[in-house]
């Protein structure tokens, strides 16, 4: 198995970095970095009114994706749509009906796995803003090599060379005070999958391998996410009033 260009092996992730509450005006903000891919996400909390096509009985989300340079094109619109659907499924939309929550994503650096990085950043920003959520979401990119092995957390050059890869989003199991009595009967929540975007053609077995690997890695990322979110929760002040 050949070495990857930056010396990692197949299962190694790039160094993760997360900082919260970095902007003054936004209600919630987070900066997430995976190696050289850095994304800044900001959230403006529930504002009154929904857009025309949205269901007024639920809270709606609006995602604005800002690339680093250049015009906004179809790729950005696609990312916005995927991000919106993902966030809608993890947030409790019945708590604040007829409101719009805006999530703004700014790409600061792009070295592969841009969409997973953005999803992780948006999740952290939503937590920073205090938007009610069912559970957190963690996202990872998995690539399928020719001989069938899986590599995690792709860089840009790897994405360009690989025949097929996928971005996967898994739920993060919520910590709860009450012990789940029925946990033995049902599948644990991490076995679900929220979003999957695949590029290129891959055999079905390859896709399932990606899912397995991705799920295992998502445990590590969600551990990191929880730790970094819990650490900073002490100095939160309500900024919605300003």
């Amino acid at each position: 198995m050949e070495d990857r260009t930056d010396g990692r092996n197949a299962n190694q992730l790039r160094p993760l970095g997360c900082s919260r509450n970095i902007l003054n005006r936004a209600h919630g903000s987070a900066r997430w970095s995976q190696g050289n891919t850095i994304v800044l996400a900001a959230v403006y909390g529930p504002k009154s009114g929904t857009k025309k096509g949205e269901n007024p009985e639920k809270a709606s989300f609006e995602v604005i994706w800002k690339p680093k340079t250049g015009q906004i094109g179809k790729q950005e619109r696609e990312y916005e749509m995927i991000l919106k659907r993902t966030l809608q499924s993890i947030c409790l939309v019945n708590v604040h009906p007829n409101t719009t929550t805006s999530v703004i994503v700014q790409v600061v650096g792009d070295d592969g796995s841009l969409l997973p990085c953005a999803i992780n950043a948006s999740c952290a920003a939503l937590v920073d803003a205090g938007i009610p959520m069912k559970h957190l979401a963690v996202s990872i990119s998995c690539g399928l090599m020719e001989e069938g092995s899986i590599i995690l957390d792709l860089t840009k050059s790897e994405e360009e060379k690989l025949k097929a890869f996928a971005y996967l989003v898994f739920p993060n199991s919520p910590l709860s005070v009450i012990d789940k009595v029925h946990s033995s009967k049902e599948e644990p929540i991490e076995h679900g999958i929220i979003t999957s975007v695949s590029y290129g053609a891959m055999p079905v077995s390859g896709y399932f391998d990606c899912l397995e690997r991705g799920r295992a890695a998502s445990a590590a990322i969600s551990e990191f996410l929880r730790r970094s979110l819990q650490k900073q929760s002490s100095d939160d002040a309500s900024r919605a009033a300003q």
């Binding site: 992730l13 160094p15 970095g17 919260r20 403006y44 340079t69 650096g109 551990e223 990191f224 650490k231």
Partner: protein, 437 residues
């Protein structure tokens, strides 16, 4: 959209009156004096030509990119410079996505006049083949956080990014001497832009019918004041641009006063920007040095043998230190370059969990090539940052120790399970702590 209007944060009458009254006694909302700037922080990103500026609460990012394009017909031997401003909706709840509003266009124009029309950036050096191919430089300004005084902050961001931007070297060649070859940055060093002078924008806000004026208004002060004026001057005292769009009239004596204050502020600001750019350039140069270890190897082969034992100890200590004292390591996972710890970059990112087993694997063959990572010129710099690890280390031992640990990183590659995919917990904590700042 009316909903957006309803969602903007509006100042209450009490706040407005308070700000105005306080200014009568020369007291500002954040405790500054009338002619004080807020704290300025300039950070640079990983690539050339990207900067992040924080002026108090205002946060602006600038990215500079270059492309080869055809020149304008009336200026066939000059490059082009274009400024694009993005008022990101994350900066202010009232900023809407889509077409830029008046304020965004005004900001773009003021910076454009200051930079391009005052000929601060040399355009003729950007010409490759006259009439056919010139460099088109594009500056993208992203307003991330609106804390007031966006023009000044964006101007500083644009200047810093342009100062650190490097364009690839290109030469004319090929069969008919018309082909343009763009050299790879690894092969030939990219070239910086020629900047003749630094036009600094200074924004003034006027209150009480022009009787009180403040510099660097906060966004609440901007909302209260009716009149604003931006003056772009450079440290030579040249006025590059003046912008006063609408609002009440100001006496011409006041305008002259503003120009004088602005030229003072401009020289201060220019020194700050130049200092930040110098530090960044020094770090970049430091990183490049490690590419030529063969030059130094001959010098150190002799003491090499004696130091092997010592360096084993040192690497053990170093690795142990790195594992246990997360705040001190230089292996930064942030993109900002102003942190001191970034300076001792003889080694790649040390997020590898294998480094704790370092001493066992060092072989004599790795030492000579890697000991060379420390040149005499750099040892001073590395000395400063490595002091945190172990003040008792001698200069050359530090060099060899850090050189050795980078070799270790490359050597280890036994197959590991998924558990090792994760960095050890204390390393992650460091990120979170760093992020908490």
């Amino acid at each position: 959209m009316e909903q957006r209007w309803a969602n903007t944060s509006r100042l209450t009458i009490n706040e407005k009156q308070f700000i105005e009254e306080a200014l009568r006694s020369e007291i500002r909302v954040d405790g500054r004096r009338l002619y004080d700037y807020r704290r300025l922080t300039i950070k640079f990103g990983r690539e050339d030509g990207s900067s992040e500026v924080q002026l108090g609460e205002t946060h602006v990012m600038a990215f500079v990119t270059g492309q080869l394009m055809q020149p304008y017909r009336d200026r066939p031997n000059e490059g082009t410079l274009a400024i694009f401003t993005e008022f990101s909706p994350m900066a202010d709840p009232s900023f809407e996505p889509g077409r830029p509003g008046e304020a965004a266009i005004e900001l773009g124009r003021v910076i454009d006049r200051g930079l391009r029309e005052s000929r601060a950036v040399d355009m003729e050096s950007l010409c490759v083949v006259a009439g056919k191919s010139v460099w088109a430089i594009r500056v993208d300004l992203h307003i991330i956080d609106n804390g007031g005084n966006l023009i000044d902050a964006a101007n500083i961001a644009a200047l810093s990014a342009l100062s650190t931007f490097r364009r690839p070297e290109c030469s004319v060649g090929g069969d008919d001497n018309q082909e343009i070859i763009v050299h790879d940055p690894e092969v030939r060093d990219p070239i910086p832009l020629t900047i003749h002078h630094f036009p600094i924008a200074v924004t003034f806000a006027f209150f009480h019918e022009g009787n009180t004026l403040v510099i660097d208004p906060h966004y609440k002060e901007e909302a209260v004041s009716g009149v604003r004026m931006t003056v772009t001057v450079n440290s030579n005292g040249d006025v590059c641009a003046i912008q006063k769009a609408g609002g009440e009239g100001i006496l011409s004596g006041d305008v002259m006063r503003c120009l004088r204050i602005a030229s003072l502020k401009a020289s201060e600001m220019t020194t700050k920007i130049k200092a930040a750019v110098e530090t960044y350039n020094a770090e970049v140069a430091l990183k490049k040095v490690k590419r030529h270890p063969s030059l130094i190897a001959q010098k150190i082969t002799v003491p090499d043998v004696e130091m092997k034992e010592a360096s084993f100890q040192k690497t053990k200590e170093l690795s142990a230190d790195m594992e246990n004292s997360p705040n001190q390591t230089s292996t930064s996972l942030t993109t900002t370059k102003d942190r001191d710890t970034n300076a001792s970059i003889g080694r790649p990112l040390n997020w590898d969990p294998y480094s704790s087993s370092a001493p066992a694997i060092v072989s004599s063959s790795t030492l000579p090539e890697l000991v060379g990572t420390s040149k005499d010129a750099n040892e001073d710099q590395m000395m400063q940052t490595d002091e945190e690890y172990d003040p008792n280390l001698k200069k050359d031992q530090i060099g060899s120790a850090t050189g050795v640990s980078s070799g270790i990183h490359k050597q280890n590659s036994p197959p590991k399970s998924l558990k090792d995919a994760v960095k050890p917990k204390h390393k992650r904590k460091k990120n979170a702590e760093r992020g908490a700042r």
